[in-house]
């Protein structure tokens, strides 16, 4: 089954980002296709390559990048939400791309399921 995911909150601040990641991993493990993860609202903050969490904590941004490296998961950051929050190509982490809201609607149209994680 083709599943897309919408992430509305930033890393660390809200569990939404963790839940979305663990859900994506579990879906892939079950043999589903996670075609796209769309980052909106503060969710765009998941895409900054400048994040440096404490050594003993998970690295949320790297985790997403690794997911996109290992699987054909399209990590899309909403351009309008990103500009408002200071996420641009110059601080974008590997595996993410910046694009328009149309990519969210398209994900909704093409996927069998769309699951939202937010606040």
């Amino acid at each position: 089954m083709k599943i897309s995911i919408l992430v509305n909150e930033g890393p660390y601040t809200h569990e939404a980002s963790d839940s979305a990641y663990l859900f994506a991993r579990a879906a892939l493990a079950k043999g589903h296709e996670v075609s796209r993860v769309f980052f909106y609202h503060d969710g765009v903050n998941n895409a900054t390559r400048l994040t440096e969490p404490p050594q003993d904590d998970r690295h949320i941004v790297d985790r997403w990048s690794k997911l996109a490296e290992e699987h054909p998961v399209d990590l899309v950051v909403c351009v309008a939400a990103a500009l408002r929050r200071g996420i641009k190509d110059e601080n974008l982490a590997p595996g993410f791309r910046i694009s328009g809201l149309g990519q969210l609607i398209e994900a909704g149209i093409k996927a069998d399921r769309l699951v939202t994680f937010g606040d």
């Binding site: 609202h41 939400a81 328009g100 969210l104 609607i105 909704g108 149209i109």
Partner: protein, 121 residues
């Protein structure tokens, strides 16, 4: 192409206190270009998004309420508002900036079952 899905946008948050109302509206405007079946639902504090008489000058924030009135131009005209939410807030449909259909929570719950995609903000 040609496939039409039913998209419902569920708004449960007050405007201005957080950005969800504004950014949700931006999604709906984009979605309108995709020729899908679009509807918007306003429940709980989400009904405040449509309260007319907004004046944001003193908080120096953009007033995006006119955009709700422009939705019809984008062929987004299925706007549902929760009856119980209006009542608990001392509001009626006449207090809102656009024409809406007032439904009970249970009716909204039923409509949700008919959707292909639910997006909540």
């Amino acid at each position: 192409m040609g496939e039409v899905k039913k998209f419902m946008y569920v708004n449960r948050k007050a405007p201005f206190g957080t950005i969800y109302a504004l950014e949700s509206l931006e999604v709906v405007l984009i979605a309108a270009a995709f020729d899908q079946d679009v509807s918007m639902v306003f429940m709980d504090d989400g009904v405040y998004q449509l309260k007319k008489g907004v004046d944001t000058k003193a908080i120096e924030v953009k007033n995006f309420q006119p955009t709700y009135r422009a939705l019809d131009d984008y062929d987004v005209n299925k706007l549902y508002v929760e009856a119980e939410a209006l009542e608990a807030r001392g509001l009626t449909a006449g207090d809102l900036c656009v024409p809406v259909e007032v439904l009970t929570r249970a009716q909204i719950g039923k409509l949700m079952e008919e959707q292909d995609i639910l997006l909540s903000f």
